[in-house]
Assembly symmetry: C3
Homo-oligomer: 201 residues x 3
Amino acid sequence: MNFLYILDLIGTAAFAASGAWAGIRRDMDLFGVLVLGMVTATGGGTLRDMLLGDFPPFCLKNEAYLFISIAVSLAVFFLHRRLGFLQHPLLYFDAIGLGTFVVIGTGKALEYQMGFIGAVCMGIITATAGGVVRDVLSNQVPLILRKEVYASACLAGGALMVLLHHTPLPPALVATVAALTVIALRLLAIRHNWSLPRAQT
Amino acid sequence: MNFLYILDLIGTAAFAASGAWAGIRRDMDLFGVLVLGMVTATGGGTLRDMLLGDFPPFCLKNEAYLFISIAVSLAVFFLHRRLGFLQHPLLYFDAIGLGTFVVIGTGKALEYQMGFIGAVCMGIITATAGGVVRDVLSNQVPLILRKEVYASACLAGGALMVLLHHTPLPPALVATVAALTVIALRLLAIRHNWSLPRAQT
Amino acid sequence: MNFLYILDLIGTAAFAASGAWAGIRRDMDLFGVLVLGMVTATGGGTLRDMLLGDFPPFCLKNEAYLFISIAVSLAVFFLHRRLGFLQHPLLYFDAIGLGTFVVIGTGKALEYQMGFIGAVCMGIITATAGGVVRDVLSNQVPLILRKEVYASACLAGGALMVLLHHTPLPPALVATVAALTVIALRLLAIRHNWSLPRAQT
């Protein structure tokens, strides 16, 4: 039970909570809230494994991820009015999950000999595809396509990781630097309300 | 040509009809109606096989499923005004399909050594993911996330099947009991208009 | 670097441009426009490879496809007001891409021993699934399900290719005839504003 695994489970719980809350806001029933929590937490890593050809995906190999997603979604469903105080701290846990998922996804793609673009894409997909599916199931244009420096933080961290991967730096240091880059960019973006440019129309 | 296979084809036809009807209601053209019929009927089993790593998916191994989906969708497209009398009986065939798909999906996941949560999820996905894709393509929040005891009937039947799988009961009996549970819950839910709770907001 | 590969890259660029333009019209930010360009250009072939069990998918094996998609999407994002004159010619490049993608997808499915329906479906999926994902991410009912002879041109060309595949004609001739059929039908449909029938409701 190493440190990265603990961060991974914290990120999974944070993503499940954000998915379950989205389901409640969209007036879904208990089953819908459960599905949104599970999909948000495990959808990105599942799509990554399906693209890399690693079957069954991580969450079917180790059911801890699904178990945590279900437990967190149930807690949010039944206690969400008492859990309001968690909404703000959740942003920080979500950022931790974002950085962890990028590092895990990019690292796995490098193990599978993906090229530069492919490895960075796998990191971004691991961290964001669950949220995209959550938004598609909620019948909304995915948030990350419209605003906020969210996926871009993943892009920066993933690209940094692939570049440093080809240096003699120890892998654990590379992963830590990449994850902290994602987390720092994400927290700065929240604090300063950063957003990407849109095309002038 | 065993009994389960016949039920599977009946369920496929019922799901294709419901998908094609949804396409007509959404004012789609002939091609759109065909796609919705095929996706509703074969999408769940296809996603299950893609997650389990069984390639190509069942409907590309045995084209009978695609053939039936196309034939039914064409019939609904051209004759839907004369087929109105089928709308009510269709609910019963749909329930038969639901029970059959859950048993097939859960059983296949158990063969692939999935754990408890994974096996139940594969049963639910087999039975409901086609309808979810149908609703996403129709630009609607998937019905099963919002109301009706539909996926929950699958959950109950799948969980029962995994539990009984670890008893000395003969597999055919386990499958029959699980399928009948799904069908009975679904029909009772239709009759009594059951629905799951929503979070109090 | 053969002729089909050059057509494939031209089609990729045309599809990426149409995806990026859709992102701009939907008021997405830079990241969203990039994702829509990449998904539209490579989504169909990726889904085909995932269904056939060929991992990793083509665009992760050869990053030229992703590189072109990114370059074209960036160009559209930053220069779209100066590129207005390309909108009309783009329809022709898009038609070339359509024919090429159908032939590549159907041909690959035949190599993988798919049956008639499966091979035709793989051709249609290769050519159209990227656009379907683009529309779903834009929160719209996919265009090809509603109007225009677009997927039907793919269906006709793919079916012709599978039929001719079983004759002694040389494969290069079969592929050329099938691709030209798709392109001709698509251009005629644009010129004469053809559309498929809808169900009378």
